[in-house]
Assembly symmetry: C2
Homo-oligomer: 324 residues x 2
Amino acid sequence: MTLNQLAEIIKSRSNIAILPHVNPDGDCIGSSFALQLALQKLQKDSIVIVEEDIPQVYSFLAGKYAKLNEIPSGLVFDTVICLDCGDERRLNDRLYLFESAQTTVNVDHHISNTKFAQFNYVDTYSSATGEIIYDLLSILGVTIDKDIAANLYVAISTDTGGFRYGNTTSRTHHIAAAFLDTGIDIAEINRRVFDTVSMARLKLVAQAINNIEFYEDGKIALIALSYELIQKMGITDEEGDGLSSLPRTIEGVEVGLLLKEKAPGEVKVSFRSNQYVDVSKVAASFGGGGHKRASGCTLNMDMMAAKKQILEAVKLAVIQGVEE
Amino acid sequence: MTLNQLAEIIKSRSNIAILPHVNPDGDCIGSSFALQLALQKLQKDSIVIVEEDIPQVYSFLAGKYAKLNEIPSGLVFDTVICLDCGDERRLNDRLYLFESAQTTVNVDHHISNTKFAQFNYVDTYSSATGEIIYDLLSILGVTIDKDIAANLYVAISTDTGGFRYGNTTSRTHHIAAAFLDTGIDIAEINRRVFDTVSMARLKLVAQAINNIEFYEDGKIALIALSYELIQKMGITDEEGDGLSSLPRTIEGVEVGLLLKEKAPGEVKVSFRSNQYVDVSKVAASFGGGGHKRASGCTLNMDMMAAKKQILEAVKLAVIQGVEE
């Protein structure tokens, strides 16, 4: 399906539900709200339906939404548009809305997208689903106002790490420029999205810094969060995972490791590398996967055994990497 | 002077020294190197002259430079171009090069610029001097290659906090897009510039986090670095100042304070606010100054007395701010 065809479908429908994926991030929330506001301008009945609360950090964004438990049972939408959602499992309990809709649409930028809807538009060249929505609104003839711009700015800036990741293209910057032209306050948006942190998270960071271990002349840095510590500090999954990038940022480090004991005997490992170690291969050797510079796996053993095995493999990869 | 006139001056000269300000930052290094590479393409003798080593974080950038102590005494340049430099005092020991030159040029974006040269081009609308250099190279007909693009990308991204500050304009993004079109590896550049930290700095962050003090229901957060702690941890001025933004980022905080005892009886105070307290007024009441959201002052008293006075003033400003 082309974007023009998608625009035609939208124009011909009147009653539309927008479904972001579960555990919604900035891209899917911003994209969903922006599309909802645009549909409203086109006089369409439309609503974003989520399962969880919108994360506090994005609560300032405008857009009409409801939680699934607020939707009357038996309500059927003529069209459902899934955004930023790689497969239908990520619709979770909202799958019945998708299955009961007359028309189903899937708009995404993930390479792993399974094209699960009747109409699928998957553009893996876009840094964020927000870029696709920007193009779609342009075709629909919807003027980007400040509320839509703020949503799409958040969508794109969060999925590109603030225009820092390799998925950022020159087009990403040109699109961001269009949002700034509406007069949105990017200093305030960026402060809320990128520069606000909870004290609990800071305490965890301090704890992690003081317990970083180094190996191979500082080329490997490791943070281990034991089950005991996670329980004692009340660390959420999100807070724990947020530490996965920290060890890699230290000067001289090539591979950063986070070992998180999710349950006794179950250790989740995050690998990050900077320049020459392909951590997808290391993770794969433990049944995991990912990318060259970011990967993960889960080991069913205690922390000490997991650490020993992971370090052996990573040390070897670092030595081989240096030699190459 | 217009940019076109500046381009004419440059075209007519052959022997050019480029002088960034002392304690050079990303904008002045990137702008200076980019201009030097462009002059080289135009077959001009040119060199960037600095007093300190180029900071490690920018050592990957290309450009011909020398330290002042490597310049033969008595050497005279026909033209000197000062970049990103608000007044001639920021040339420090290189002032004699400026004073002995036949033609002097001053290119900057700071509102406080004193227009100290024969030819001055000060554009306060530009987010960075790098934006001005981009325009200048365009007029000079110099093609932006990867080395020039990397320099100017660093110049602009550092002065805008990675496109996050309010000085970022839509034009800033359009210009960044032009740099990405050359094929530079922004993921690697951003990793080096924004996501690399020394272990000493992390240890200081951990120490600071564990010693943050809160006042007024968490609306004020304060970090105090005593002279004793600074000596014990070997904290550099730069490392200490780097903490000034941290307290403000904590959820619920309106004013973040850093008190640094530079010498016994001398306390430097950094004020940062988020939404409603004008910290320039608070700093001014202690003989300091700055902007609404970032200001500073120095108090000649011990830490305990300084903390008491500063907190009294800030509490009052917070209470008044809430009421407004």
